[in-house]
């Protein structure tokens, strides 16, 4: 099954840094540091990591929106457009704009800032859709919007209210409906369910899955909640200090985590009916502006060895679908 899947988004050694000039001294924040991804059609790929690991920057880079002080330092980013792989990093602003909404769309975390607070929801729909589709009149735009809203089981009248009249959960669902309205190939979500109540979060996850099933497209999302990953993702990438340290299908990540960081993340989660002692990862995450040498996890790793302090391990394929970057695993496999 895996072989037949088409790659829809691919990156090669993607590096995106923030270069800040703090009163004369230059500070480089290595937020995305050599990331290689292959994301397939018709899947939900989710990226796990803690705050300050560069996951939001990675999403912005994948969305091909790089605003100073963020800079694309190195690497390539390919989208598959009309069955042809295109390097989109060279695109002009106008070409990038054309891809948005239609080919790739973005779901932000705080849905309040998406909608202009003084115009009705349908005004925002008009702005977003009207600038991308050639339509003769507003009625056509609203027809597109209404259809999607009904399919997703949202109340019909949401288009006619102001943003503050909706609850946070409803607003987030309308945002997702808006992002999906032009049937994009790829939808990117930055913590789309964080800051929502658990029951509402469940509703939003349910809706994301519904959309993905219907459009058979790709959703790339970021969240720090392993429970959300387990429920929604087909494949998971674990991000630590600007790098993807492990990647595998969801079941494999949870059944057989290989990287010590992943092991900690999964084993530290409390479960109902099990009160045995859980341990956190010791230490704190490193600053992206001042990374340790070698493997960035080595200061916190209980299995640290000399080589970990000196060299960053290569990403190796444990099997067709499971990749990991760790010296422990490297040794086990290569001798």
């Amino acid at each position: 099954m895996a072989e037949s899947k088409q790659v829809v988004l691919r990156t090669e050694h993607l590096k995106s840094f923030y270069i800040l000039d703090m009163q004369g001294t230059q500070k480089v924040v290595k937020a995305v540091n050599d990331v290689n991804l292959e994301i397939y059609e018709n899947e939900i790929y989710s990226i796990a990591g803690e705050s300050g690991c560069g996951k939001t920057t990675l999403l912005k880079t994948l969305f091909n929106e790089i605003v100073p002080p963020q800079r694309l330092v190195d690497g390539k980013l390919y989208y598959r457009i009309n069955s042809e792989e295109v390097d989109v990093t060279t695109f002009s602003a106008e070409e990038k704009r054309k891809l948005r909404m239609e080919y790739i769309s973005y779901i932000p975390q705080g849905s309040m800032s998406v909608f202009n607070p003084v115009i009705k929801i349908k005004g925002t729909y008009e702005d977003f859709i009207g600038s991308h589709v050639e339509v003769k009149n507003r009625d056509e735009i609203f027809a597109i919007a209404r259809e999607r809203i009904q399919e997703l089981g949202l109340p019909k009248n949401v288009l006619d209210v102001y943003p503050h009249q909706l609850s946070g959960g409803m607003r987030q669902r309308v945002t997702i409906a808006l992002a999906s309205s032009l049937n994009p190939q790829i939808m990117i979500g930055d913590e789309p369910t964080t800051a929502l109540d658990v029951v509402v979060q469940r509703g939003v996850i349910q809706m994301l899955k519904d959309i993905q099933k219907k459009l058979k497209n790709t959703i790339i999302m970021v969240t720090h909640d392993m429970g959300v990953h387990a429920n929604i993702a087909d494949r998971i990438g674990i991000m630590y200090a600007g790098k993807i340290v492990e990647e595998a299908p969801t079941e494999k990540i949870f059944d057989m985590p290989l990287h010590p960081y992943t092991q900690f993340l999964i084993n530290s989660l409390p479960k109902f009916g099990d009160k045995t002692m859980r341990e956190s990862v010791p230490g704190s995450p490193p600053s992206l502006a001042d990374l340790p040498t070698g493997c960035p996890f080595h200061p916190r790793c209980p299995h640290v060895k000399d080589i970990c302090r000196e060299k960053m391990p290569e990403t190796i394929k444990v099997d067709a679908e499971h990749k990991v970057a760790c010296w422990l695993v490297e040794e086990e496999f290569n001798g």
Binding site: M226, S268, R278, E279, S280, S284
Partner: protein, 321 residues
Amino acid sequence: MDKLLEANNLTKRFSQGNVISRAILTAVDNINFYIKPAEIFTLAGESGCGKTTTAKMILGFEEVTSGQLLRNGEPQTDKEKAWITEGVQAIFQDPFSTFNPMRRVDAYFHETVYNFKLAKTKKDAIDWIDQKLQLVGLTYQDVAGKYPSEFSGGQLQRISIARALLTDPKLIIADEPVSMVDASLRMSIVNLFKQLRDELGVSILYITHDLATAYYVSDRIAIMFRGKIVEMGSVEDVLMNPRHPYSKLLRDSIPQADPNLRWDSRVTLAELEHEEYSRKGCRFAGRCPEVMDICKTVVPPDVRIDDVFVHCHLYEELEEA
């Protein structure tokens, strides 16, 4: 029974608007609970259920509309605010906003020691502070002269706990203490609560929406919905065998970190959340899968089954004599 803190028919109403149109919102509606010495008691629920308002009333940041707060069985009056700061301390959700970003962190420690006259000399003060910081795995040297931005979220939350411990409080109120801490550091904070309870005999009122950590850390739990406690009892009883339909929904909606436990049923969300506050009968009646006619008109009674209180009509007949 020994009760460190007891809430009797505690109610808080907010009124919004002006003289002409005034809306009254009952944020906390007649709730009763108690906290024993050396126990971790969880108030769980979604945003807007009144859990933070309850905490603020205990801390004296909000006035009580009606009802009483008793400490060691005696009414708590406004004049005895000293107990609120010495006997009850609090830690907050966002560790980065707990301390003023423009002030050094140790200033708060020295101020607390000075204000409560905990030490006579500067050296005694530092010893006292160091002793409390060691309880959370830090030392005075780690903290002295540093600004909040020099620490990680997990460290700051530990420092915040150490500051709360300075006055040797009997009760610590922790409002969503781990929801903004990184996943990889979360359990170290939660484990600290257990340690404080077991080693120092401190009680903790743990306020959270995360039922999984609540199960892991606490002894008893109360689940709140729209200002009411809908179910209360030991965590084993309430979370392993939830009785109230809302508790069941909440328990089932926690995303489990296990791909084999994905949700298979669908969930209905409230369309108009505000309307739920002003419902006549049971406030959950609009979404309850087991709703009956009586739920829409009559406020359910507090039913007691095996040491668990359930606020639901379903169990009315089962009540033990």
